[in-house]
Symmetry: C2
Subunit: 530 residues, 2 copies
Amino acid sequence: MPILNEISALVKRIPTSMQEILNERVIQIRAEIQQGVKKPYKQVLNLSSGDPQALSLKPLTFVRQVLAGCLYPTLLHGDTLPADVRQRVQTLLGECAGEGTWSHLETHGIRKLQHSISDFISRRDGVASDPDNIYITNGSTAAFMTLLKLFVPNGSSLQTGVLTPEPSYNGFKFALAAQGALVVPYYLREEQGWAVQLDELHRAVLTAKGHCNLMALYVINPGNPTDIHPVLSPGHVQTKDSIKDVIRFAAEERLIIMADEVTDAHKNMIVCVYQSCMIGEGMEFCSYKRALMEMGAPYSNMVELASINSISKGPMGECGLRGGYVELVNFDPSMKQNIFKLFSAMQCASLMGQIALHVMVDPPRPGQPSYPLYTNEIQSNKREIINNVRRTLGVLNSLPAITWQPVMGGMFAFPRVSFSQAAINYAQERGQEPDVMYCLRLLEDEGLCFLPGYELGMTEGIYHIRITLAAQEEIMKEALQRLKNFHLRFLKEFPALERPGGNTNPDPLTATASSVMGHADPNTPLGWRH
Amino acid sequence: MPILNEISALVKRIPTSMQEILNERVIQIRAEIQQGVKKPYKQVLNLSSGDPQALSLKPLTFVRQVLAGCLYPTLLHGDTLPADVRQRVQTLLGECAGEGTWSHLETHGIRKLQHSISDFISRRDGVASDPDNIYITNGSTAAFMTLLKLFVPNGSSLQTGVLTPEPSYNGFKFALAAQGALVVPYYLREEQGWAVQLDELHRAVLTAKGHCNLMALYVINPGNPTDIHPVLSPGHVQTKDSIKDVIRFAAEERLIIMADEVTDAHKNMIVCVYQSCMIGEGMEFCSYKRALMEMGAPYSNMVELASINSISKGPMGECGLRGGYVELVNFDPSMKQNIFKLFSAMQCASLMGQIALHVMVDPPRPGQPSYPLYTNEIQSNKREIINNVRRTLGVLNSLPAITWQPVMGGMFAFPRVSFSQAAINYAQERGQEPDVMYCLRLLEDEGLCFLPGYELGMTEGIYHIRITLAAQEEIMKEALQRLKNFHLRFLKEFPALERPGGNTNPDPLTATASSVMGHADPNTPLGWRH
């Protein structure tokens, strides 16, 4: 009998990822096609992931040129790389421990990068930021994993609980489970554009009482276009007043705020270059730190805030490089040594991710040779997503039994699908949720992969599918055609109501959804100023 | 009062890293020099780290060219990159989810890379390797951290214990502490060339009884030139017989073997290209897996083995890219799903590290354009280290109160220093260990940073300093001159015995050390066949 005959309870608690199951099946089907297995399609289209580059959205040339130059400084001779790229590379190489190479002397990150991030935050918020409070990590998941170690386990006999929005990306929930903490869900209301509601937070706190030791509140802002909060058809941006309410709530309940503020490169660009950051129609991005500092004492010097950002999303979309940071605000200075020790024990973050992070917080400036291309590429990626939103809404509009919330911006569509009782029964017989069954069949029949809303933690009886919008035009068109074909066939097999909302067992939170939801105007899908 | 007013017990248990403290001081001193503070030196030399490139050892051109090409495929047009680099880039890009870019679809690593690693292991060991048992990670620390989650916590009221060699790199001990596991030390004997001794393993097991739930045995082989086992002046390579003894021991005691087999690029090269792997004089590297399979049943299908490798060490030395893998052998297949789930929850490893890993396990072959340069660069880096060993031993030979074990190979010297009672008292008054005091003074007085043996877990009363040998000639010469100046001044202040061994409170394990230790011949410091 093997020694490890039972997996630790901790690992068992990590939910199985539908995303992983679907990805594995995508790989299998691709292999089957290569082996000559007959399928009604030549190619699998995977529009389930939150990885912008997986669907051929182009990486930003400046980022890649700087990385190539840092790795292979021979490129600095001659004019293979533009002058400002060469200059950036020289500056970054000057920060290395070795000469012209890359080493991992400083486990908390490149010193200069800490300062650049701190400058970026100061510019964004109009509030000072201390480079010593910035820790650089292998992306946002690594940042959360490490942070959670500070207070999980906590010595209490009860598990540590963290208030967590649903629906949301499962990565954070995986991280909580992997650290032995408990997800205490608070539900975002579809009919309110997935905004955080104070009464729902209070309700969630009550559910936690006696079951766990509630220590932190996880918030995601903006709710787009990060895949951290993938319910992107709404793509909620929190207002400053709402943020202040949440901060007061956290102070009353004595909760640490873990803010997932993966401000995407659009916004970073705008923040950096124009000192303003409009992304949604009439919506101004406000960081939790800025709101906190505006509130003044006692909040501004009392509420503990960890704000996390990463290079994975937006037009930069460098998921594969792994880069992120966390800024700690109001953490007890006496713990600094221990926090530093913890982050150091995790080893330094990938230097390639760190370099990309440097470009993200300090992009090319007007007048520099790379500025026009850099901004054009961002605009072009943005345009591609906007066109895909239009295309997608156009097709969804033509399909019965599908509705959605108006899109404010982002990288995903998240339409709601209505299933007939027959379809629900059919799924149940297979031990599947209806949306999972729908996505699995879509993948088998049409070679098209979307993510079921189930993965993101939907309330029972409410079903969504998540469609990645960051795809090249031809891929998107083909995907929508396949969706249309499948959906109409599916409805012939399982005729459904014209509008969702008549689902069985609706949750009280979303019971009124059907009354406010409807078909949006495909011509004004985004609030971005383009 | 802040909510997080006390750090979790788990983080508290992570030991403070002398390496980090020294690095911070190095950075401070460098800043002081820049600010015009007068010092008796113009430049700080940091020879404390295990990062080969930090001391200007050159990165391998082929690795960097492949990385640059993958990041910026425009370089594939024209002849900026050699033909085999371009071909490798094309192959790797073909493995991406996106076209010509990099995304993180497969959280367990690039599929092709899993196969390449599996091929490499099969060639090395002459035993089949299943790609599905290979998990790619952000370096070896990440691999250990994730693995430990499988059995820590274990549901037992006792903490999970792991048998861990001392002295050894503190990274693994940090990982254990960060996961809430307990280090159960077994001491490597200096006078036996730091070899693992069965009687010492049995002694360590007895110390653990009743204190913890012993689950695993951590072994490091070869003991060089990884910084995982940094006692590199001995640089022990385990014999196949010794490995089999250890495997039998693990089977009897029902322990999972976690083998740190960071086979460096020399050996990988030799393994890959020549199917042989001599590194020490008369020493043949044998992997734990190979030994295990040779033993046959019941061992070969029973003993659970996790073997870890990384790109950080040897002439590749790509610490900053973060790349490593673990192969799991004999783990219960029923747990595969959970293990996969766990590694997936950690997110994919840095793709740049994965690409470098690909080159490490499948380097340029004879006849390919890059082969001559690749092998020359490795030989040159190797020669530089060998010359540094000669230089270092030459200087150490001239210094009183210093001895060492014969060097078999590697990246560090680890001489033992004899301190007088006066020096010990002086250190105690400052709350420091004598070797820590020595290194701190060396840094302040001479701007030279070495790592005290204390950091690596030495027994009480035995003091060492660790000197990185992977440095450019000029840096090494300058460092040795500074060491000489300091050491002679130090001995004037604190006169010591000519030979160490007369230390107070010697540990029984090493009490006989002085009788077998002596000055080695600087002309035959390494067993490498050069």
